[in-house]
Symmetry: C2
Subunit: 330 residues, 2 copies
DNA sequence: TTGAAAGCGCTAACAA
DNA sequence: TTGTTAGCGCTTTCAA
C-alpha cells in the first residue's frame, strides 16, 4: 500500500529516536515531553528532515485549517480585493485559502467541491437567487455570505453599505442643482444594485427625476444604455460601477458631450484607475479588503463555535473628484 | 476518537446496503459492480446523503487533486490574471486551487505551507534571488516557475517573452524617428525588467540613445523618475508597466507636455483601463490567463510523470494606440 | 510523562 | 465481481 515510498514518517522518527510515535507527536505539538527525549526527537527530526503529513493530521484531527472562498470571477478586481482581505487574515491565523472560481463550473458544484476540503466557506455570489442560496448553504455550514442580505439564508452575512453611499452621492448632486438623474443600472438580481436603486427611490422623494436604464454587461450595452438615458436629458449620470462609468465617459466623449460641464458622471467601487483617469472619476470607495477581513472574522467566530451577528455592513465613502460639477441648469 | 459524530461514512452505507465497504468504494469510483448491488448502494447513498470524506481519500490515495499557487500579491491584477488561467484549467481537470499570498508571510514559509497540502505548486516570485529559489524549489517538486528564467533552478519555467515585445516597441518608435528614449524601469531583480533592458540595449546598437531611470514603487517615485528622465530630453518614454505609464502621463500633463505631440509614451501589460484611457495607452498585451494555462499544462504533465520542456515562453503583442506618434524632431 | 492501541474514513492488494 | 484485510500517517485515549 506504499503509495509514498521514501517518505519520512513519524514512525521512522520514533524508531530512530527510540521513543513511541505518540511521544514524537506530542513533541511536535508542543506538549510536555521529558527534556532528554525531546532533544533526541528534535535531533532526529532535523537529521531526517521530517515534515509531518498534514493530510494525515487533517484526517486524524477532523479539521483542515483551510477555508474556502468562492468568487464569481477571479479576474474581477472587486473580488480579488476581497480575497486579499480574507487571505491576509486567514494566513496570519495559520489558515490556508482554497479558492473556487464559480464562473467556470456550475456554482453549486464549485461550492460543494471547495467546501469538502476545508473547515468553512465564504461565498461571494451576487446573482444566485435567495432560495437557491438558502438551500445550498444549509449543507455548507459553516458559511458566510458576502454582499448579500438575505434573511432567509441560514448563514451570517457581511456587506458594503452601498445604500448610504448612494444616498450621499445623490444628495450631493442635488445640492449642486441636479434634478434629472439617470442611473446606468447593474444586474437586477444583485443585492448591491437593489440597494443603489433604493437610494435613488429616496431621491425621488426629494424632487429628483430618475431614469433607470440597464447598463448590461458589455461596452456596447453601455453605449446603448447611455444613448437611451440621454433621451431624458439628465444632467447627471450615475453608473452601477466604475467600469460602466468609464464606458459611459467614452460614449459621451464620442457624442461631444462635455464632462462635467454638460453632464456629471459618477462611478462606484473606486477601482485604482478611477483616480488616474482624466478627468478623475468621482466614485465610491468600496473597501474590498476590509470586507474580506470582516468575512474572515465572522467565519472565524463561527469556527470557534460562537454565534456571530447575522448581518453586518461596512460603510463606503464618496470620493469627490473631477467628473461632478454643478448642474448647467442651476 | 469520534471527532466527527453523525457523519455518514462509507461503512454506514455498506452496512445499510448489506455489502462491503470495498464495494461501495468501487461503486463510487465507477468500477464494475453487479447491477443489483450497485442499485442498492446508490439508493442508500442517496437516502443517507452520503458524501465521501475527501481528506480520507487524499490520505489513502496519496494525492490531493489540489494544486498550490503562490503569488506575491493577490490584489495585483497581473497575478490574478494568471490565477484565472490556472484556475480555469485546473478546475476543468477536477483540481482545486490552494492560493498563497507571499506578500503576507515570509515567502518560503508560504511556499512550504501551500505545498504541504497539494500535489504540486506554481510559483510566481519575481524578486527572490535565483539561489534562494533554487534551494527552495528542490524541496517543493513538482513545481513550476512563472515569469522567471533561471536555468539553475530545478523546475520547469514559463514566461512571457517581454524581450521580443520590447524590441518591437522600440523598433516601432525608432521607425517613427525617435532617437532619444527613456525607460522608466521596474525592479532590477525582476527578470521581466531585465528582459526589457536587454531589448533597450539592442536598440542602442541601432542608434538609440537610451536613458534608464528607476521608476520605483509609488506614484511619487514615478514623478521623480519622469523629471529625471526629462533631463535627457527624450522624445519617447517607455514605462515598465501600465501603472507606471499612467503615473507618468499624469506628471507630463502637469508639466504641460503634450502626449503624443511632444513625447510618446508606452506602457506594458495592457491592463483593461489602458484602452479606455484618454489618450488610449499604447501598451503590450501580456496574456496572463494564457500564461496561467501554460503553467498548469506544464505542472499537469509533471504530475503525470512526464518531463516537460524546461523553459517556454508565450509571446506578447504590441497594442498600438494613441500615446505614440512620430518624433517631433523627425 | 510515556507507550500501546485504537481510531480518523477511505482505498487497494489479495484471495475467494 | 466480491469481501477480507491491511494499510495511508497521524492523534488521542487509556492504563501504566
Amino acid at each position: 500500500m506504499a503509495r509514498t515510498r521514501g517518505t519520512v514518517t513519524i514512525r521512522a522518527v520514533a524508531e530512530a529516536a527510540q521513543v513511541s510515535p505518540a511521544t514524537v507527536s506530542r513533541f511536535l505539538a508542543g506538549k510536555t515531553v521529558r527534556p532528554e527525549l525531546a532533544e533526541r526527537v528534535r535531533a532526529v527530526v532535523e537529521e531526517l528532515g521530517f515534515r509531518p503529513n498534514v493530510i494525515a493530521q487533517d484526517l486524524a484531527q477532523g479539521r483542515t485549517r483551510t477555508i474556502g472562498v468562492a468568487v464569481p470571477d477571479l479576474e474581477n478586481p472587486y473580488f480579488t480585493g476581497i480575497l486579499k482581505g480574507i487571505g491576509h487574515e486567514a494566513q496570519s491565523a495559520g489558515y490556508h485559502l482554497l479558492v473556487g472560481d464559480s464562473g467556470i463550473a456550475p456554482e453549486l458544484d464549485v461550492w460543494r467541491a471547495v467546501r469538502q476540503r476545508c473547515d468553512g466557506i465564504i461565498i461571494c455570489s451576487p446573482y444566485a437567487p435567495d432560495e437557491v442560496l438558502a438551500e445550498a448553504v444549509a449543507r455548507l455550514t459553516p458559511a458566510v455570505l458576502v454582499n448579500r442580505c438575505a434573511p432567509a439564508v441560514p448563514a451570517p452575512q457581511v456587506a458594503v453599505d452601498s445604500h448610504s453611499a448612494m444616498l450621499e452621492l445623490t444628495g450631493h448632486l442635488m445640492n449642486l442643482g441636479h434634478r434629472r438623474l439617470a442611473y446606468l443600472a447593474g444586474p437586477e438580481q444583485a443585492w448591491s444594485d437593489q440597494e443603489r436603486r433604493r437610494a435613488l427611490d429616496a431621491a425621488r422623494h426629494f424632487g429628483a427625476e430618475v431614469t433607470v436604464v440597464s447598463a448590461g454587461a458589455t461596452a456596447e450595452d453601455v453605449v446603448r444604455a447611455v444613448d437611451e438615458a440621454l433621451a431624458a436629458r439628465p444632467t447627471a449620470l450615475l453608473a452601477f460601477n466604475d467600469l460602466v462609468a468609464f464606458a459611459a465617459l467614452a460614449r459621451l466623449r464620442e457624442l461631444g458631450i462635455k464632462v462635467p460641464e454638460d453632464v456629471s458622471v459618477t462611478g462606484f467601487d473606486d477601482i485604482p484607475y478611477a483616480r488616474l483617469a482624466v478627468p478623475a472619476l468621482t466614485s465610491v470607495r468600496s473597501p474590498q479588503p476590509e470586507l474580506g477581513t470582516l468575512a474572515w472574522q465572522v467565519l472565524s467566530s463561527l469556527l470557534a463555535g460562537e454565534t456571530p451577528v447575522g448581518f453586518q455592513t461596512i460603510s463606503a465613502e464618496v470620493q469627490h473628484r473631477e467628473t461632478v460639477a454643478p448642474s448647467p441648469e442651476r
